[in-house]
Structures are given as structure tokens and as C-alpha cells.
Point group: D3
């Protein structure tokens, strides 16, 4: 039985009807990636919300930070694992494979990050991501101090927190709309 | 023992050092509300992230939508109740009191929304908010159909989902930073 | 939509038909508080059970103890928060406000006691209350020793345990009957 | 390794020092049962609290009710199973064996009541007991209507609720004090 | 109402139609125990699977090991308690009674092993059994080191793990088929 | 940081020292697969237990059954997803890819089977696998009837149950020993 090929169960508008700035984004994605990520298509149902989502995404994942891009993608996958979010596990699992050149690291983040061999700093970041995702009400000074003890600055902790928070948002948008990832993600950097 | 008066455990920069656009926001808040919401102060540690957060907040909570502003605030409080987020329960509990003129409704949303007298549409929205917050991986077609059955359109469902998703983000920022709400929220519209 | 004004979903007998001793209680409540707490009305469906409930309540909450009345009310609210009991959160949240003169303390107990600034003794008592409420089977010698280490005597631990136990009883009576708190509780000591 | 023979980890006062009324209770227990239930000894640390506990216990478990004494004991064991309370499972498991003459029924209530062969009324009562114990905040009109549909009156529902509530209290007193049941309970009515 | 007397809800074939080797097992059980354990009858629906199950069972529970037979039965009961498996709690609770000569130890393992008086080695084994049963994804080096610290060798840990794993299998076969234990188990070694 | 290359944290004996029958298994694996699955190496610490494990594995996964081999592998992955077992998700995710020729189906089973497009029979089987894994004590007649309603025979239900049960065993052996899957599994049938 062929797997689903819808993008979002709430429907997706014709991209030709989008405003110029968004059509420019679509073209840029096609040029650079060869496809438009389905999360953009799903979100284009409400164009202004898509703009806000992209702005936040770019800042959280791509701007300067004490956390490397790979580390932020690892956090993204661990949060998505806790929330069992298919879209984000596929899309950001691919990103971990690409950025690390290590396909097994992507699988470990998705299935159970505790089996991975990580330095103390990364392990502390992922433990924090899991706790802030699953029991945010239990986070307290001891957790922040634990991050400081492995070298995170106050702004590093802020960036880590916002990465966790952002994927708690995007996981829920994906689950609420039954968003399907583009097929292309499955093929990215599988061999090492 | 006097209760905490920090804003964020990650520290808050001097507002006088912020860029002009943000200082304008500060002034507007002081004019309109009499105070700057602590979430802005806490987020100003990373100014561009604050701008993105405000843009998303304004769109999700204040733009045109099939969900009334009160309904969006009710959703905010129910999500924050599931996540036991002190900051958002205080700040958005106040908003429910203000918008509804009904202090008990705010308490019910914060403590256990199931005791409130709601129409079928609102009850379905809040049940969806609870499920999408606590077990997003279980949301499926039946849940979306349930919302359609009480009159929500596809874009209404999108707006509901993003409201839930947004407070799953902001609850985690508040818990990660131990963000304290402004004292003023406690006093807003308590009598009816 | 006006909020519920029933007292209990199992019905409430006419207070004029109650025995003399209970009618005396009703009169005393009206004199002292200006209203009869709805938990009494709800329980009067079975008068002897009401008598036993009041006797236990008075002993647990009002008799001499190494725990102050405020501390017992704080425990009451934290237990009710774990059990998400609307009636008890409203009624005993008001008591915390009254006894402490600190409205924010009441909100913190109801929403997430971990954000409050407490001395080690109070924090240990509330952690014990949470654990004994949510996972009683895990309570062991280390928990009792933790209470002794912050100064509780054997009878203090007994009193703490019975306060927790009693609200685990009354939370369930309130949830089983959908008991609604008197409107008066919402107004008590809100400003500080 | 011999099993524990303490009564309560908070200590037990010398029964000879108790007030006359309580020493009369002790004598009556010895005459009727051959032993004083350890819950009385443990509670005698605070004599007035013991009196209140006994009054409530006797009313809930032994007074006239639409629920038979066996049914109330079955509820007691199911609540204690959810809370994994050793003392109450042993003491009230013995009561189910005695009252039913069916040792396997007692084991089923303690281990997993869902495997027992019960009429619809009893099954509905036990399902309600489990839900009110483990997730009281989810109890609503549908649950009460379900009990009415199998024949429970409003006062039957009240009695059922209070039985559940009472064992949520006593389970926590037993766990908080590490209360050990009298050895005699293990032997009562094992063969059939 | 008489309790269930089915063996398995999936039916049980006539033992006379079984192959010679299995009929020999049946005869041996009748000779030695006086009955054929219902788990064998239930499993005989697929004879080869029964053979594999018996081979694994005999190796795990009866072969040479650094864990005594009693310790393996204690682990069996604790796993079955976590999984609330009626069949295994009855059958292996009887085994703990028989092997220890201590009926209360059996009850403690079934109801809440944390109340039992155990040496550090046994307590560590049962804590590991509980964790590996309920949250296997959290087991890590610290757990294995904890077992080594109380004297378990690498093969002892292997044997412990397989005992836990095996009862996670058999508990699920019992629950899936609503397997009922033989009445004989209830009577074994109750008095001490 | 290179990922772990141990096989089991409990150590693995030199395969040259194994008995002839096991060395024959090793040779057959090398011939057929190009590698010896690490689960065999890990289990060879106790050779007789390995033999029993292989016998049960072969019967459960490879013998004649009303469930296809692909379906049994899908069940294996869904159970392993519930238990977040890295070894089994990698090894049996590869098997789903190989047998279905559909890499996305493997990902869906591992991340959240509810997003997959399945016929009613397969969906019912996977829902049963999830429930029997996570809350075995809640499985009852309605669950078995649900399987019958989509066409499963009594022996099909038995086979399904044993597949679920077997992976609840093997997931725990993998977690208890921190078993690492062979690198080869990651590469099998990724492109489609």
C-alpha cells in the first residue's frame, strides 16, 4: 500500500497564488534544495504566519550562537523523538546526517539519544532538551547550573531553550495537520 | 518570605541599551498597560529573537481569525495548565478575566477546564488543545473531524493548532528561564 | 455563557430539614463567613458522613500542630494542584491568600509550587506532599529522613502526612460530585 | 531474611497510656479479632485523629448503604491496588476473602480487577474507583451517568465516591508511615 | 458470582491430540505437581512455540546461575507486579512462598517490593527489574555499575536481564490470552 | 565523536571458542548476510540461552503464520518504538525496508506508526501491539474481538501476541546490555 502523499490534512493553496516574496522563497528552495519543504507549503495556508515561522526558524537554527548548527539539529531531533513527530524526525534527522556526516548519529538522536557517545556538554544539552519537552514544570536552578557547569553561557542556555521551545511548536503544527515530509529527505546522506 | 522579584534567571539587559524600535515598544507598553511585560524583558537578551517572538505573538493572538480573542486566551491558559507554567497562567489568566469579564472562567481554565460550562465548540477546542499539548503523537483524522463537526473551518483548525503550538513554545521559554510575571497581572479584573 | 451554579451534581437536601446540630453549623458559618461552604452542603446528603468529615477537617487543619495553619493550607493547595481539583484550589487558595496576606503565594501553590521562594523546611514539606499524592508507593525511609533533616518531628511528619491524605480524600469527593466552590472564595484577599 | 515487624516508622505509643475509650477499643479488638489492627496502633500517635479515623471508617465501611459490605471491600482493594499500598491490600484482601468466601476474588481485586467475572454494576463501580483514584480530574457527567445506568442511586454514588476517597486517604497514611499489616491478616480464609 | 474457569480466551486443544513429547510433559506435570500449568495448555495451541517457551523457561528459571532460584522467582513477581499480570502473580507468588517458606515475602513482591526487608544486593536487583520493565530506554551504565557494586558478575547481570525480559514476554502472553492460573496455585504454602 | 563500536556492555566471548553448532551458525550468517548479527554475539555469553533465543526467534518471525513476514517485522518495529530500543529499531527497521521495498514505511513504523497508510487489519494489529506493550493490564475481550473483526483467527491472534511478547523480551535484553546494531543494518535498502 503506497504511503501518504498529502502535504497537510488542512489543504495547501496553489503556490502560484502566493505573494511575490513567498514565491521568491519557493524559487530559492527549488534552486538550492531541489524542492520546497512541505512545512512551508502547509504553513502557506496563512501567509503571514508562514513569514513569522520562517523568520523564527532562520534565527533559531541558522544565526550565530554558541551552539553549533549540528548541535541545534541534534536538539531538534531529540525534542521530536520525545514528541514522536514524524515530519521533524525525518527532516531534521536528514540534517543531522548531512551536518555530521554520520548517519548513525541521526538514528541515535531519533531512536534514543542516550545510546550515543557524546561529550558531557552535548549530553547535558540533550538531557535538558528532553526534560524541558516532557516535564517543563520540573525544570529548576539545578538544571540551569548543570548547563553552566559544562560550559554554557547565559545566552547559550537561552539559545538552547528557544531551540527546544521552537520544536515543541513545530512538532505540534506537524501533528495537528498530519504534515508529511518531502520524499527527498529520506535519501539525504544515508551512506557514510 | 517575600516572593521572587527576578524577571529571568538568565538575566535581563538594561532596556536603555536596546535598539530604537524596541525602546519604542517599551514606551508603548508603559503608555498602554503601565508596565512592560516581563516576557519582553526576558527575551530582550537576544533582541532579534524578541522581534520574532512579538511578531508571532501578535499574529497568533491578535490578528483576524475565526477564533475570538477570548477563545485564543482560553486556549493559552489550558495549554499552560497542562504544562503547569506559572508565568503564562498568571498573564493569560488575567487576559481571560479581562476579555470575559468573568473571573471564575479564568480560574476554571487554569485549574481544570472540564468543570466550566462551555458550548460544544469551545469544549472541543479545549479538548483538542489538551491532547495536542500532552500527547501530540495521538492526534489524528478523528480529532480534526471532531473540530469540523462543531463548525471549525480548515483555517480555524490551523489557527487553533498554532495557538496551542505557540504556547507550548512560550511555556517552555518561561520554565527554562524561571520567568516571573509582573505583579500587575495579579490585580487585573478580579472582581465581577 | 454564565458559569455553573450547582453545588453538587448529586443534589443537595434542603438545609431546613437538617438536624439541629447541623443547622447550628449552618448558622455559625453564615455569621462568621457570610456563607455556608458548598462542601458542607454537598456532604449533607449523608448527615453522619458530614459530621465525620467536619470533625476530621477541624482536627487536621485547625488543631495544635508543629505545622502552622498557613503551612497546612499550602499543603492543601499543592495536593489539590497535583489532583487538579477546582473546588479545593479555589477554597484553599483563598485561605493561603488570607493567612499569608500574599496573593501571589496562593497562585504559586496552585500553579506550580516549585517557582515559590520557600525556606528548606517548607520546600521539603511540599515535595513530600507532591510525592505522597502522585506516587505514594515510592515513599520510603529517605523521604522521612529528609523531613527530619529539616526539623520535622515524628508527630510533625504524621500531621503532614494526614494533611496530604485528607486532601486526597476531599479532592476526590469534589471531583466525584463536580462540587462548585462558593463565589465568595474568589474575592477573598486578592489585593496586597 | 525475616520480614519487617515494625508497626509504623513514626513509632507507636504504649497502649497502656491511652485514654479509657481507646483502651476499650483495644480490648474489643482483642476479644473479637484476636489482635489490634496495626492501623489503630499507628494512628494512636495522635489519639484524637485516631478517633476521627475510626468514626469515618466505621461509617464508610459498615453503615447502611446501597453498596454491600463486600462491594465496599472490593472497592477498597482496587483503590489500594492502584496506589500499590501493601497494608491495605493485605488487610482488605483478607476482608474480601472472608466476606465472599472466595480467595481468588481477593487476589483478582488486588492484582488486576479486570480479569474477574463481575456483573455490569460491580464492574462499573470498580472502573469508577480506578478512574477517581488515578485521574480524578477527568471524572465527569458521563461517569456519573454510567453508574446511574447500572442502577446506582445518587446516594449510592456518594457512598461509592466516599469509599474511594477514604482509601485514597488511608493508603497514603500507610505509605507515609511504612505501616505493616498484622501477620494475622495473611492467614484469614485462604482455603476454599 | 463464580470466577472464570477458562484457561485461555483463544481456546485450548485437546491434550490427547498432542505429540508424544508433549503428552510426556503433561504426564510428568501431573505426577510431580498434580496438575498441568495452564500456561502450557494455553501455549499448546502452537506446539512448537510451546517447546521453545518451555526450553527458555527451564533455562532461565532452573539452570545454574549466580542468582538463586528464589531470587529469580522474586524478580518474576516484581516484573509481573509492574505489568499487573494476574496469571504470573498467582503462579510465581506461589513459587516465592514455596522456596522461601515465607508467605509474606510473596505478598510483598506482588504488592510493592519496596516494603520488604532485603539485603542491598536483592534490593538492587529488584530496582533494576522494575526499571528495565517500565522504562527500558533509561537503563544505562550507572545501572549496570550499581549491580556490579553489590557483587553481580557480568553473567549474573545477563541472567538477571534475561529473567526480567522473559517475564515481560510471558506477562504479555498471559494478558493477550486472558490466561487464568490453575486453582491449585492459590493454596500452595500459605501458612507459615 | 565516533559512535560506539562495542557489541554489548557485558562483553562478548571469542567466537572461536564457541561449540561447533554455534560456529556453524556464525559461518552461515557470514555467508548469507556478510556479518553475524550482534544480538547473537551478545547472547553467546551464555550459549544455551542463545540457542533458545534463536529457536524462538526463528519460530516467531520465520515459521508459517497467518501474519506475513513483513507484518511481523512491522509489529517488531512498533513494539521497539514504544520501548525506544535502538538495536531493534535499526535491525528490524532494515527488515521492513527490505521486505516492503518501501524505506518510508520503515521510518513510519519507527517514528509513529499512526501516520502510515495501512489497511484496517494492519492498523488493528499495530494498535494491539502498542497497547499490549505499554499497558498490558488493560487488554481485554474488546481488543481480541477487534482483531477478530478484521479477520484474524485465534491462531493469528496467538502469533501476533507472541511477536509482541518476543520483542518485549528482546528490547529489554538490548537495553540491559546496551547492545549496538551492526553497522551494516544502516545501509540496507535505503533507496527506493
Amino acid at each position: 500500500m503506497p504511503q501518504p502523499d498529502h502535504i497537510s490534512k488542512l489543504g495547501v493553496p496553489d503556490p502560484d497564488g502566493l505573494d511575490d516574496d513567498l514565491r521568491a522563497v519557493w524559487r530559492k528552495c527549488l534552486d538550492k534544495l531541489g524542492f520546497v519543504p512541505n512545512v512551508y507549503s502547509a504553513y502557506s495556508l496563512k501567509p503571514q504566519r508562514l513569514r513569522n515561522f520562517m523568520a523564527m526558524y532562520n534565527e533559531v537554527m541558522l544565526s550565530e550562537s554558541g551552539l553549533s548548527k549540528l548541535e541545534r539539529e541534534m536538539v531538534a531531533v531529540v525534542v521530536s523523538s520525545a514528541n514522536r513527530c514524524y515530519y521533524c524526525l525525518v527532516a531534521h534527522g536528514a540534517a543531522v546526517r548531512l551536518l555530521s556526516g554520520d548517519p548513525e548519529l541521526g538514528e541515535m538522536m531519533a531512536h534514543n539519544y542516550r545510546v550515543a557517545k557524546l561529550d558531557r556538554r552535548q549530553r547535558a544539552m540533550l538531557d535538558f532538551a528532553w526534560k524541558l519537552t516532557t516535564t517543563p514544570w520540573l525544570v529548576d536552578d539545578a538544571d540551569r547550573d548543570g548547563l553552566r557547569a559544562v560550559g554554557l553561557t547565559e545566552t547559550d542556555i537561552f539559545d538552547l531553550a528557544e531551540t527546544v521551545a521552537f520544536f515543541n511548536l513545530s512538532n505540534r503544527m506537524a501533528s495537528a495537520t498530519d504534515m508529511m515530509p518531502n520524499h527527498e529527505y529520506h535519501c539525504l546522506e544515508r551512506s557514510n
